[in-house]
């Protein structure tokens, strides 16, 4: 064997090891705390002439992530920088994995200046995040440096109650739903079929039975009502019995729907629909794609869907096989004609998602608060929701109307994508979201606009039936999750067995007893305690 060869190989290994060490060396300056390095968050107040530069951690929504690498590429943030003089260095986790990265960010202690996240998901709640030194309490800052946000909170005490902690601390610049659009999904039916059969849009469960039966018998629908498992267990049809699919409120008392006597009636009805073939036989296994397929192929005439991604997509793709295809939104169902629905799915005014907090690492909390407060001003909100006049919107009769750049984008972007490219309106972001003036344009079909009105008509009823955004302490949360992991597993299994007729409904009492032995009463206690704290805010 030649000697040279061996030497060469040794050298190769040395190089390889060197490279990996070098790699470690190379990237060191990025996170190094050398005083001279231009680290973003060390520019203190002593140098007021230097423009403020913030590091800002935020998850991008999918639409935006497909179009840009960084929020600084969006018109909104470019304009925002021009208006406020604050430049931002964004850090973006991958879409759908913000929770993992957020946890690691907190564990590592290397916090950016601003974090945008849903802090209601923080283990132990936002108050714990403050004591963990992940976020700064903002009460004083908002008092002195956030006039717009302060005014809004003072004018809207109900919302203020949502965004503060149990002890009254304001911790974020939240995304707040304004306008009448918190309910964005519900039941929909084939309007052309209803017309043809001379039927009204159903309101009561009895009417629903009639309509579904007619769809099956006269329109040949193989699965007259289709849904997915998530829709069966959520606050959908179960709401007709004035109970929730999970925790809900009844006269100020926390209750668990599947533990209530009325749940038996709900199960009986669903079982009847299932046995008669009115309810999709595949509801427990199918995914959204399969469900959508049934709607488009006229196998189903009624379903649960959202106004934008559901109804909008269906109306956009009218199938050749059913040229008359038309949809109508149905009011959330009730048992008795003339009563109002009380339980259905809706977003909270305080979205939770998209709340911006200031971290203790931030050297300029006052200036940051002012910057974030701009989003709560009318000017800031307009920029965020409508963009730049003349470019993305025009004022027509006193209200902003999106230009073709947004609604009929020359580059072939969908409305949602164009909005993400130029504004921050489609998903929760610090400031006001869900502006009616935006929704009316985002929903381009008449049927969608009607659906929004119908679904949101009784929104205020949720005040008495929906569990508000309560906070469990860290210990409570752990106990609750231990109990509920078992209960939800059991409840879901039994729900399917009852509905599919594998378990006779007479065994409902046994089922309730089992829930009890699994600790549902304790879970209710924990929820109730959190609710009391919420009420006392």
């Amino acid at each position: 064997m030649p000697h040279v060869q061996r030497k060469g190989w040794n050298a190769a290994i040395a190089t390889v090891l060197g490279v990996s060490l070098l790699a470690a060396g190379c990237s060191t300056p990025q996170n190094n705390e050398t005083p001279n390095a231009p680290v973003t968050n060390t520019q203190g107040n002593e140098n007021p002439s230097a423009p403020l530069k913030l590091s800002y951690w935020a998850a991008m929504p999918g639409d935006a992530a497909r179009l840009m690498k960084n929020y600084n590429e969006s018109l909104f943030y470019q304009e925002l920088e021009k208006k406020t003089g604050v430049s931002v260095e964004f850090q973006h986790p991958a879409v759908g994995s913000q929770a993992e990265q957020f946890n690691l960010l907190v564990a590592s202690g290397n916090l950016p200046d601003v974090i945008e996240y849903n802090f209601t998901h923080y283990p132990g709640g936002p108050e714990k995040a403050i004591s963990d030194r992940v976020i700064l309490p903002l009460n004083d800052l908002i008092e002195s440096h956030a006039p717009n946000f302060k005014k809004y909170l003072d004018d809207n005490p109900a919302i203020k109650k949502e965004v503060i902690t149990d002890s009254g601390t304001i911790y974020s610049f939240p995304a707040i739903g304004v306008g009448n659009s918190n309910v964005s999904s519900g039941m929909m039916l084939r309007q052309d079929w209803l017309e043809e059969l001379g039927l009204e849009t159903p309101e009561t469960i009895e009417e629903w039975t009639t309509v579904l039966r007619a769809f099956k018998e006269q329109k040949g629908a193989t699965s007259p009502l289709t849904m997915t498992l998530g829709e069966m267990t959520g606050d959908r049809f179960v709401g007709a019995w004035n109970i929730g699919g999970s925790f809900y409120l009844d006269n100020g008392e926390v209750k668990y729907g599947p533990y209530e006597a009325a749940y038996k009636e709900f199960l009986t009805q669903m079982n009847a629909w299932y046995e008669e073939g009115l309810l999709d036989q595949d509801f427990s296994t199918q995914d959204n794609n399969a469900k959508d397929g049934k709607v488009v192929n006229s196998h189903s005439g009624a379903f649960i869907s959202s106004i934008g991604s559901g109804m909008g997509r269906f109306l956009n793709a009218i199938p050749e096989s059913a040229p008359t295809f038309d949809l109508v939104a149905a009011q959330h169902p009730v048992l008795e004609k003339g009563t109002e629905p009380t339980v259905f799915v809706a977003a909270y005014d305080f979205r939770g998602d998209g709340s911006a907090v200031i971290t203790p690492a931030n050297q300029n909390p006052e200036a940051t608060a002012e910057w974030l407060d701009y989003l709560f001003s009318e000017e800031g909100n307009n920029l965020k929701t409508f963009g730049v006049e003349g470019l993305t919107y025009e004022m027509v009769d006193g209200s902003p109307i999106y230009t073709d750049l947004i609604t009929n984008n020359p580059d072939g972007l969908t409305v949602g994508e164009a909005m993400s490219m130029y504004m921050r309106v489609a998903t929760p972001a610090p400031g006001y979201v869900g502006d009616d003036r935006y929704n009316q344009q985002y929903y381009k079909f008449e049927q969608q606009k009607e659906a929004m009105t119908i679904f949101n008509q009784y929104y205020s009823n949720l005040e008495n039936t929906r569990l508000p955004r309560v906070t469990q302490t860290a210990d409570e949360a752990q106990e609750l999750s231990s109990i509920m992991a078992e209960i939800e597993t059991y409840k879901d299994e039994m729900l399917l067995r009852f509905v599919m007729g594998l378990e006779p409904i007479e065994n409902f009492d046994k089922y309730v007893a089992q829930l009890q032995s699994m600790g549902i009463e304790r879970a209710l206690e924990l929820r109730q305690a959190a609710l009391e704290r919420y009420k006392n805010r």
């Binding site: 290994i13 427990s284 399969a290 999750s481 231990s482 699994m518």
Partner: protein, 300 residues
């Protein structure tokens, strides 16, 4: 110590060669291992590993006491047993059969095509499985034609394991066979020559040369598989199961996943991970010892 010194003199180069490997394992595997301590702590993410309070075996007890503990354990073991019996040998048999293909071009095509499913995202693969097994799915149609009553197989617990294992073979048999094909290629061709001289047919060659030739790798992979009996990846199950099939489909990892959805429970998840690891490691040691006894092959 004296022995080691003597050994060093004799194998000096080996000591230098293993050094980067040992360093790597020390830095990236042993240094972070302190994290496993949180199985015995009530870990709060911002408080860190030291400050979080000790709770002893609380997380283990809460798992063992769980209403579903035995079901989860049983399902995990049975599913792994099925995989051991069906998924494990499939690529071996497949590799042997590929090796018997006559035309070399056809052989290449078979290899290249069968390894494709490995590259298709799990989300898409499971979407297809669900579609094929729907009431009007193609596999359902096929089974109905063969005399089955029309039903959604994924809604019935008794079929879940079969669906899981068969689809696992479908996804992995081609990819899994690559390692065995490589081992077959490593067999000295002179052995085949010699046996042909002795008049052995292909069948005898498979059993007397090919199989013994790849036995070391089979045994090693088998031992590793045994040391994996308490693990099942949760992603595929989550994409395929539903409460109807929890009875057979719910395994330890999926239960932990569902529990974790409600609140981040690093300590609980770590405790279960430690439990799985201990059992797995014991199984591995036993399997290794057994293999050492009856054959020459062992992991260490």
């Amino acid at each position: 110590m004296n022995g080691l010194l003597k050994d060093y003199r004799k194998h000096k180069y080996l000591y230098f060669m293993i050094l980067p490997v040992v360093l790597y394992y020390f830095i990236f595997h042993y240094v972070p291992m302190y994290g496993a301590l949180i199985a015995f702590k009530d870990f709060r993410i911002a408080e860190g590993f030291l400050a979080s309070p000790w709770v002893g075996f609380q997380h283990f007890i809460s798992f063992f006491d769980s209403y579903y503990f035995w079901r989860l354990l049983k399902n995990t073991l049975i599913l792994n047993l099925y995989m051991l019996v069906f998924s494990f040998p499939a690529p071996i048999i497949f590799a042997l059969l590929i090796n018997e293909i006559v035309g070399s071009r056809f052989k290449r095509v078979v290899q290249t095509v069968t390894y494709l499913p490995h590259f298709i995202s799990l989300i898409v693969v499971c979407g297809m499985i669900t579609q094929f097994l729907a009431r009007d799915g193609i596999i359902t149609d096929l089974l109905v034609w063969l005399g089955m009553e029309r039903q959604v197989l994924l809604a019935h617990p008794q079929y879940f394991r079969a669906i899981y294992v068969i689809s696992d073979i479908w996804q992995g048999v081609g990819w899994g066979s690559i390692i065995y094909l490589a081992a077959i290629m490593g067999i000295n061709p002179e052995l085949y020559e010699a046996s042909r001289m002795d008049g052995a047919n292909r069948w005898r060659q498979i059993f007397h040369i090919t199989l013994p030739g790849i036995t070391p790798i089979i045994v090693i992979l088998f031992i590793l598989k045994i040391g994996n009996m308490l693990d099942v990846g949760f992603e595929k199950i989550i994409l395929l199961y539903n409460p109807n099939t929890y009875v057979t489909a719910d395994v330890i990892s999926t239960f932990v996943y569902r529990k974790g959805l409600q609140s981040f429970e690093f300590s609980y998840a770590t405790a279960i991970g430690v439990f799985q690891a201990v059992i797995n490691f014991i199984l591995l040691i036993a399997a290794n010892r057994f293999s050492k006894k009856i054959s020459e092959n062992s992991l260490w």
